[in-house]
Every structure is written in structure tokens, then in C-alpha cells.
């Protein structure tokens, strides 16, 4: 067991520290290592776990927890989660330490002004990427458009929004139009 836990750490910790650009950039590596190299899961099992991590809230890299769970139950899930997030988090906190101290300085203002337009492009790019990856239908695009307007123009509690969407989808599913 300790051996497997160690291997879990050795798989996820280096990938964590190298996941420049976010979790999705290392999923292919995780798949290759866990399926082809270690034979921890079959291709189909990996696909199932990936589907679960995709539809869950939070980061997609929580697939690491699912793989850990698959191997060693609760302990495996915890160890994999820690291995996945501690290295990248330490790097992030150390690097941004200086950034936070510089608040209000002139060079920091220039950086913020330069970052803002690029951020806008990336926000919309990310939204489009999610819609593409889930093969959005007309209904899904309509949901997105309406939700966007609700969030933009109102202060409606997100839980109410999400619950309303769920109810409408259940209704649409059972009531043929």
C-alpha cells in the first residue's frame, strides 16, 4: 500500500509543479501514466473518471483524487489530492508574494493595465472552449445566454439560478414539446 501511495505522489507531484496554463494541460500525461505505464485503470475506466471530474464543480484535476480513490480508497484520494495541489500551490504563493507587496506601485499599475485586455480575451476563449468540449446544443447555448444575462443584470443568488436551470431541464426532459 505504501508503495502505491508513493507512486501516486511520484506521478502527480511533478505534474502539479509543471502544469503551466492550468490542469487541462496535464490530463493527457495523467492518462498516459495511469493507463499505459502503471496499468492502474483501463482506458474506459479513465474515460469514466474524467467524465465525472468534468461534470463536478471545481478543478478538472480532481481526477487525481478519483484515481487515488480507485487505487487505495479514502487514503489514496487524500494523498493524490495533496500531491496534485501542494507543489503548484507553493510555487504560486511564493511567486505572487512579491506581487502582493507591490500593490499601488506605478509598475504594478502598468502591468495590471496591460494584463486586463489579454484577460478579457482569455475569459471568452475559456467560455467558448467549455461549450465546444460539451458539444453544446441550441438549448445549451440558450441556457448560457439567459444565465449570462441573469448574472450580468441581477444579483440573483447563484444557487437559485442553478436550481431553476435544473428544474427547467428536468421539465424539458419529461415534458415532450
Amino acid at each position: 500500500m505504501a508503495n502505491v501511495l508513493l507512486r501516486i505522489v511520484l506521478l502527480f507531484a511533478p505534474l502539479s509543479a509543471l502544469s503551466f496554463g492550468g490542469g487541462q494541460t496535464i490530463i493527457a500525461d495523467v492518462q498516459h501514466q495511469s493507463v499505459s505505464v502503471y496499468h492502474w485503470l483501463s482506458g474506459q475506466e479513465f474515460a469514466d473518471l474524467f467524465a465525472i471530474s468534468r461534470v463536478s464543480p471545481g478543478p478538472t484535476t480532481l481526477i487525481s483524487a478519483l484515481i487515488g480513490w480507485h487505487l487505495e480508497g479514502f487514503t489514496g484520494a487524500i494523498v493524490a489530492t495533496l500531491a496534485m495541489y501542494i507543489p503548484s500551490s507553493v510555487v504560486f504563493v511564493v511567486v505572487t508574494l512579491f506581487w502582493h507587496k507591490s500593490e499601488g506601485t506605478r509598475w504594478r499599475r502598468a502591468i495590471e493595465r496591460g494584463l486586463a485586455p489579454v484577460a478579457v480575451g482569455l475569459i471568452f476563449a475559456g467560455a467558448v472552449a467549455v461549450m465546444e468540449s460539451m458539444h453544446a446544443t441550441t438549448l445549451a447555448w440558450a441556457t448560457t445566454a439567459i444565465a449570462a444575462c441573469v448574472v450580468y443584470f441581477t444579483k440573483l443568488n447563484p444557487y437559485i439560478l442553478m436550481s431553476a436551470v435544473a428544474l427547467i431541464y428536468v421539465a424539458v426532459f419529461y415534458v415532450p414539446l
Binding site: 465525472i52 471545481g58 504560486f92 494584463l115 486586463a116 467560455a127 453544446a136 448560457t144
Partner: protein, 189 residues
């Protein structure tokens, strides 16, 4: 540090309780379907609690995307650290990861049973689509705050087209665009 810098950084001294950071991110975590973490964090941190201004949050979001680590976790680290230093970062990240971890494990246990029903997939798709709506809303809010200058629009469009349409990887695109954008912003003064 000069007095001017201290006064500019004053909002950080509002000493937000660690518990408030934790609960804020727990709430964000459980509704972050369809990659909408940053959108809900923007609403909670910038609009509702006013822990940070638009520009500081947006800059942190971009750092979160480029640096190693999952974007949602990095956003929670960024906000937590800005408010209460490394301890705040730790608390924010735990608030972000823990609920999502519980949900993903519960879903994994139920998955074999639930995946047999077509409704499951249909429903999750709808909720994810609503999450994307939150992201579009945040994108619009951040966009209207960008300075109205042609070059800003050009950089925003290039970032969107290269990453969103042409599917180029984010990191190299950002590493080229951001320095150019910053130089342009600095030279205008």
C-alpha cells in the same frame, strides 16, 4: 515602503477573518460548474465583499491561468494571500478544494448507478451551460472596464482568437502578448 504605497495598499489591512475567506470559497466551490469558478469568485470577492478591486482581481486571474496549478485553486490562493498572507491562501485553497473533493467522490460512488439514466447527462449539461453563462457575464463586466483604446481591443481580440478559435496553448500566447501589452500601456503615459 513609502507612505503613498501604504495608503494605496490600505484595503488589504481591513483584516478579513480567515473563516470568512473559507466560507466564501466553500460557496464558490460548490457552484463552480462549467469552469465558472473565476466568475463566481469575481462576484463574491470584487462585487459583493469588495475585498479587491477589478484590476487586482483580473491581474490575479491571469497569473492563475499562466502559473502551474489548477486555475480555481490558484484564484483562491491569490485572493486568500492578498487578504491574509500565506495563511489566508491556505484557508482559501482548502475552502476551494474540500467541497469539490467531496462532490466528486460522491459522484464517483453514484456514477455507475446514475450514468444509466439519460437525464443525468442532460441535467449536468444544462448546469454546466449555466456556469458558462456566468463566465460570459464576468467577461462582459471586465471588458467594459478595459480602457477604451484601440490597442487594448486589439490585444483582447488576438488573445481570444488565438486561444479560443485557433486553440493555441495559453502559456506561449500569454508570454508573448502580455509583455507587448504592458509595454504599450506603459508607453502611453
Amino acid at each position: 515602503m513609502s507612505t503613498l504605497e501604504e495608503s494605496a495598499a490600505a484595503p488589504a489591512a481591513q483584516n478579513v477573518a480567515l473563516w470568512d475567506i473559507f466560507t466564501a470559497f466553500v460557496r464558490i466551490s460548490v457552484m463552480s460548474f462549467g469552469g465558472s469558478t473565476a466568475a463566481w469568485a469575481y462576484r463574491a470577492v470584487v462585487e459583493e465583499r469588495k475585498w479587491m478591486d477589478n484590476d487586482a482581481f483580473v491581474a490575479g486571474m491571469t497569473l492563475s491561468q499562466v502559473m502551474p496549478g489548477a486555475n480555481p485553486v490558484n484564484v483562491s490562493l491569490y485572493v486568500g494571500q492578498r487578504l491574509r498572507g500565506p495563511l489566508g491562501a491556505l484557508v482559501g485553497a482548502i475552502g476551494m478544494i474540500l467541497p469539490a473533493l467531496v462532490v466528486v467522490l460522491v459522484l464517483a460512488v453514484l456514477y455507475t448507478r446514475l450514468s444509466g439514466y439519460p437525464l443525468t447527462h442532460f441535467l449536468l449539461l444544462g448546469i454546466a451551460a449555466a456556469g458558462v453563462g456566468a463566465t460570459f457575464s464576468m467577461g462582459a463586466k471586465v471588458a467594459v472596464r478595459v480602457e477604451r483604446k484601440l490597442l487594448r481591443y486589439v490585444f483582447a481580440m488576438v488573445a481570444f482568437v488565438t486561444v479560443g478559435v485557433l486553440h493555441w496553448p495559453t502559456v506561449p500566447v500569454v508570454l508573448v502578448l502580455v509583455p507587448l501589452s504592458i509595454i504599450c500601456a506603459a508607453m502611453e503615459n
